[in-house]
Amino acid sequence: MSALAPITTVPSLADLYREELDYVWQSIHRLGISSSDAEDLAHDVFVTVGRRLGDFDTGRPVRPWLFGILLRTVSEFRRRPRHAREVFAEAPVANQADPRARPDELAASNQERSRLLEAVALLPPEQRAVFVMHDMNGHAMREVAQTLEIPQNTAFSRLRLARAAITAKLRSTLHTQEAIRGA
């Protein structure tokens, strides 16, 4: 099943789970949900998917639909009392020792990923959704606008703002690291 292309029949929940769990899992992390909450979020997403399979429009690709459910689930999750103050786990995770040994060559990549997710997490939610969908998950802007139910021009505007904010944050982090190295 090509996840970005329209499908002709309603898939089963098991098929969707098998093929799209990684997409959901990755999107959850990209939206700034901590690893400890990711499983609960993924559970809620697939439960909702299971209950709404009948609503799925087979003329449209599956991933934007999944992302829409994910966004609403994340939004509802953050409104719960214990998450009223947004705390993104990716920043502290970068400072924590991973109990499992990782190959050295992955270290730099992980650091880059952490910096990027840290910057994404600082975005306002509406910009974050556009950035994650378009720049990280590779959805077309038309799909982004449809999924978020916003005009396409608004989506472009949010993307521009998001890119500028993330670039500024990445530059600032790089300058800080260079200053530390130079000291």
Binding site: L13, Y17, E76, R163, T167, R171
Partner: protein, 280 residues
């Protein structure tokens, strides 16, 4: 015409290029599917977390669903009243004329028809108090048991009190597709206990739990999950041959199962001996 997207900065492009694809861990993959299946086995408003998404109450939604909800409410009330009447009839000291007989040659006939109340108003998705009846059967296997013993007929004539009993339950023949809420919850509870026993490293308790699940829910909805947990428990207990046998049967019974990776991981964790073969 769509506006042109501003070009990405070099820093952003590099960061995006570096971002590696993240996959859900194998253990999460299997565990999560079990949770999703278990939650979906319950009605939408009754899941364990209470957090499953509920359709938004937009006016269009209300227009579409309110009439059906009202009809459901009325039908539900009628069924409730009928059930209450049936219960009162059932608990009244009515003399039972037809004796319940259990043949000594039959293996273990648990259900003997003696209609007491119209069966159409009794929930038929479950039969209760199987352990009680098994006790009766084993004790009086070679004797004739009369209904005057005070035992009501299982399933059809069981009292609501026995419906709430903690005994194992099996579906009535012909009703295997219908599972009650309490059955789902009870099944899930048994497997949760198995999971926590496994997490504590108490393999014996985990095996006992899976055996209990098989005994009490022979046609349960979570049989696949039980079998996967059973294999993990056997590996944990060091019963490697049993684990391998069960794993082979698991793949036969549940081909293309989402829990197959977890089963394979459990069997793959069996230590290998010096001869290069997996530990026996």
């Amino acid at each position: 015409m769509a506006p042109e997207i501003e070009l990405m900065s070099q820093e952003l492009r590099a960061a995006l290029d570096e971002e590696s694809a993240m996959r859900a861990p194998t253990a999460v993959r299997a565990r999560l599917w079990t949770r999703v299946e278990a939650t979906l086995a319950l009605p939408p408003m009754a899941d364990s977390t209470g957090r499953a998404a509920v359709p938004s109450l937009k006016p269009s939604f209300l227009r579409a669903h309110l009439p059906s909800r009202i009809v459901s409410l009325i039908v539900g009330s009628a069924v409730g009243v009928a059930g209450h009447v049936a219960y009162q009839r059932l608990t009244a000291p009515t003399p039972i004329s037809a004796p319940v007989q259990i043949s000594s040659s039959a293996p273990a006939p648990l259900i003997v028809a003696t209609p007491i109340v119209p069966t159409s108003i009794i929930p038929t998705s479950i039969i209760p108090a199987v352990p009680e009846m098994q006790q009766v059967v084993s004790k009086h296997r070679k004797q004739k048991v009369n209904a005057s013993d005070g035992r009501s007929e299982p399933g059809r004539g069981a009292s609501p009190a026995s419906l709430g009993g903690g005994g194992g339950r099996v579906p009535l023949s012909g009703d295997t597709g219908r599972v009650s809420l309490s059955d789902s919850a009870a099944e899930r509870n048994v497997l949760e206990a198995v999971r926590s026993a496994l997490a504590r490293g108490n393999a014996d308790a985990a095996i006992a739990g899976t055996e209990r699940h098989q005994r009490e829910f022979p046609a349960g909805q979570l049989g696949e999950e039980r079998d996967a947990l059973w294999i993990q428990a056997l590996v944990s207990a060091g019963r490697f041959d049993d684990a391998r046998t069960r794993a082979a049967r698991f793949h036969q019974d549940h081909s293309n199962s989402l829990l197959a990776p977890a089963v394979d991981a459990a069997v793959g964790s069996i230590p290998v001996t010096n001869s290069g073969r997996s530990h026996q």
